[in-house]
């Protein structure tokens, strides 16, 4: 009984106490600060107010995608289809909006319909993943590899492989350039999503059950939890969040892009895991996703400002991923 309660605690470590869990959580932000200072010595612009706001705003997207990925990683799964979902949603919503807007309809209706279409597509992909993983027992890798192909096929088919231009400006105002009390909209949206996820994962039966499902699937079933339904729901939430992030990205670029999500699948997993979400399931939370997303965005931003080539950045990211997971491993082993 006591152990079941313990395993429902959100930030449970393998055998460490709460203190070491907080230390682990603090390690990466310290690293982020050190890294920024390091960049600053070479390029003072890195710590300018303008760049910091810029980085924060850029990181909101990766944070949302990492959080989405985190929800399914908690259950010992992952979602390879996330990037393809982003592409498909971007193109589909842009097509709906442009066709409605060019037909003479009001921009507001067009945007609303586009958002609904995008979220609807995300819902469908999430249901597909969830049903195959949960009810048909297909390994998450294979199920989401399948939906990756399907979503990618949809994205390139309906767009003909070309960007969809003439997305109404109203979308951009609504999800990108607008400000509420001088705070940019993307920050508010990402903040709201993170708060909601924090509440759901930590304070609802569903959220806490996800940790137990990831920690010990059999125990979850024996405890009488509706594991199968919760698992489907986890994949649906993941894809819905990915779809929402895709809408925000579409608002930023101002066009539907069939290869918008190209590198996001791996980046989102990397961000979540670097932040401290365990691929073995049951460990992690929103804070880890935020820290991981910030870390990767700031690393890329710093290297951009130092004019380091994209290829070298790719190599650096590879080393950082391995090093981060290695140190996490060391930390878990010691505590």
């Amino acid at each position: 009984m006591a152990s079941a309660e313990a395993s429902l605690r959100p930030t449970r470590r393998a055998s460490g106490g709460a203190a070491s869990a907080w230390l682990r959580l603090a390690a990466l932000p310290v690293l982020v600060v050190l890294m920024e200072v390091g960049f600053w010595t070479m390029q003072p612009d890195v710590l300018s107010a303008r760049n910091l706001i810029n980085v924060l705003q850029q990181s909101t997207y990766l944070i949302i995608f990492a959080a989405a990925q985190m929800v399914v990683i908690l259950t010992r799964g992952f979602d390879l289809s996330l990037g393809a979902t982003v592409s498909a949603v971007s193109v589909a919503s842009a097509l709906v909006m442009t066709s409605l807007a060019s037909g003479g309809g009001s921009a507001a209706i067009a945007v609303a319909a586009g958002i609904a279409a995008g979220l609807g597509l995300g819902l469908l992909i999430g249901l597909f993943n969830g049903i195959f993983v949960s009810w048909l027992n297909v390994n998450p890798f294979v199920a989401t590899l399948g939906s990756l192909n399907i979503a990618l096929g949809i994205a390139t088919t309906i767009s003909g492989g070309n960007p969809v231009f003439n997305v109404p400006n109203a979308l951009s105002t609504l999800l990108y350039s607008g400000k509420v009390l001088t705070i940019p909209v993307p920050l508010i949206l990402a903040g709201t999503i993170c708060l909601a996820l924090y509440f759901v994962l930590g304070h609802t039966v569903f959220g806490r059950s996800l940790y137990l499902i990831g920690n010990n699937p059999r125990a979850a079933r024996l405890a009488g939890l509706p594991s199968a339904r919760y698992l489907v729901l986890a994949y649906v939430i993941c894809s819905l969040l990915a779809a929402f992030g895709a809408l925000m990205l579409t608002a930023w670029t101002g066009s539907g892009e069939p290869n918008l999500g190209g590198s996001l699948m791996l980046e989102s997993i990397a961000a979540a895991v670097i932040g401290g979400v365990s691929l073995r399931g049951g460990i992690g939370g929103v804070i880890q996703a935020i820290v991981g997303g910030l870390f990767i965005t700031m690393l890329a931003n710093g290297m951009d400002l130092l004019e380091i080539s994209g290829y070298i950045q790719q190599i650096t990211l590879g080393f950082v991923i391995i090093a981060a997971v290695f140190f996490d491993r060391l930390w878990t082993a010691r505590t």
Binding site: N139, V273, L279, I315, F319, V320, V325, R329
Partner: protein
């Protein structure tokens, strides 16, 4: 009398049915499905059964087959190798650069140039594989993250070395004799694939290493307790996987005639798909090389038939995704029916 005859008939039929079931149980749906597909395509898809097309399918499936064999070894020990696609690109680029660089200094000796280029490609593949294996076996980092990292690194290095521009200047004999050559009417890559499959079959079925690899994937702790040097064999699996990927890179480079950093990206997911369709378990401990060979042919035949039917390549992607998921769902259902695949 009549009763006895029907009884015997029934028993014979049930024995035959039993044997069929056992075959099905042992081999799965794949061989059956493959035969049906080939028959249907041969009858209804124009040009499918032409010699030229069969050679084409064999050649392209042999590349995937070699990569998938390596991928299978890593899957059997309970891991993943996401880096194979990048290793293909890296081996391609390195071998081409070495050969092109030695073209002038060793002008009179194309055989030596080829040898050094091949060694360079295989060597860097081995280096990546060792890095993967050491990180997984000794540092105990999750295979997914390690190979994700090395994928990024190897791919980045390939692009840095070439700036994304194809590298030309390989010996003509290498390209025409090996890459595009026909040995006894068959593409050279086919022989390479057959040799790899045969070698891995021998390792899997007749050597201690093969048994240990299964043991590690089936139950790592039990393997450790039984005195298996698990770290050595884990490292060996990852190294072999990368070596085979590098070999594929060399064969592809020879066929195309230039080293390209963008080569092979799709092979990572395709090789996992081919292995999984062939019944290799992502939970480790299960997988047979002859089935993986069939799985690679299966994927390539499907793509080829859709090409011949002029199915749009974007729709093909969707179709392959559906097939992959359905095949694995069917396999999972079969496992449950026969009392395996329990969780």
């Amino acid at each position: 009398m009549i009763e006895a005859a029907t009884h015997a008939g029934q028993r014979r039929r049930s024995a035959a049915v039993e044997r069929l079931y056992r075959l099905y149980d042992a081999a799965g749906v794949l061989p059956l499905l493959l035969c049906v597909l080939i028959l249907v395509f041969a009858l209804f898809v124009p040009h499918f059964a032409s010699v030229e097309n069969i050679l084409n399918v064999l050649r392209s499936s042999s590349f995937l087959m070699i990569v998938s064999c390596g991928q299978m070894l890593v899957l059997i020990v309970g891991g993943f190798d996401l880096s194979v696609g990048s290793v293909v690109a890296l081996a391609s680029v390195i071998s081409a650069i070495v050969m092109a660089g030695l073209k002038v200094p060793l002008a009179g000796d194309p055989a030596l140039i080829t040898l050094l280029g091949v060694l360079g490609g295989l060597g860097c593949g081995m280096a990546v594989g060792l890095l993967n294996g050491l990180c997984v076996a000794w540092l105990k980092i999750s295979p997914f993250m390690v190979t994700l990292g090395t994928m990024s690194i190897a791919g980045g290095v390939a692009f840095v070395l070439t700036d994304g521009i194809p590298v030309y200047g390989m010996p003509v004999t290498y390209v025409n004799g090996f890459g595009r050559g026909l040995w006894l009417d068959l593409p050279a890559a086919v022989y390479l694939a057959i040799a790899v499959v045969a070698a891995i079959w021998v390792v899997q079925n007749l050597t201690r290493m093969g048994r240990y690899i299964f043991a590690i994937g089936g139950n790592l702790d039990a393997a450790v307790v039984s005195g298996v040097r698990t770290r050595v064999y884990l490292t060996a699996s990852y190294t072999l996987s990368a070596l085979l990927a590098a070999l594929t890179g060399l064969a592809l480079t020879a066929e195309i005639g230039s080293g390209q950093a963008s080569m092979g990206a799709q092979l990572t997911l395709e090789s996992i798909a081919a292995a999984v369709i062939a019944g290799v378990s992502l939970r480790g401990g299960v997988g047979r090389v002859e089935m993986v060979a069939l799985g690679s042919i299966f994927l390539l035949i499907l793509t080829n038939a859709m090409d011949l039917l002029n199915v749009d390549s974007r729709l093909q992607t969707i179709f392959l995704g559906v097939i992959l998921v359905l095949a694995v769902a069917a396999e999972e259902a079969r496992g449950r029916k026969w009392g395996r695949g329990q969780r």
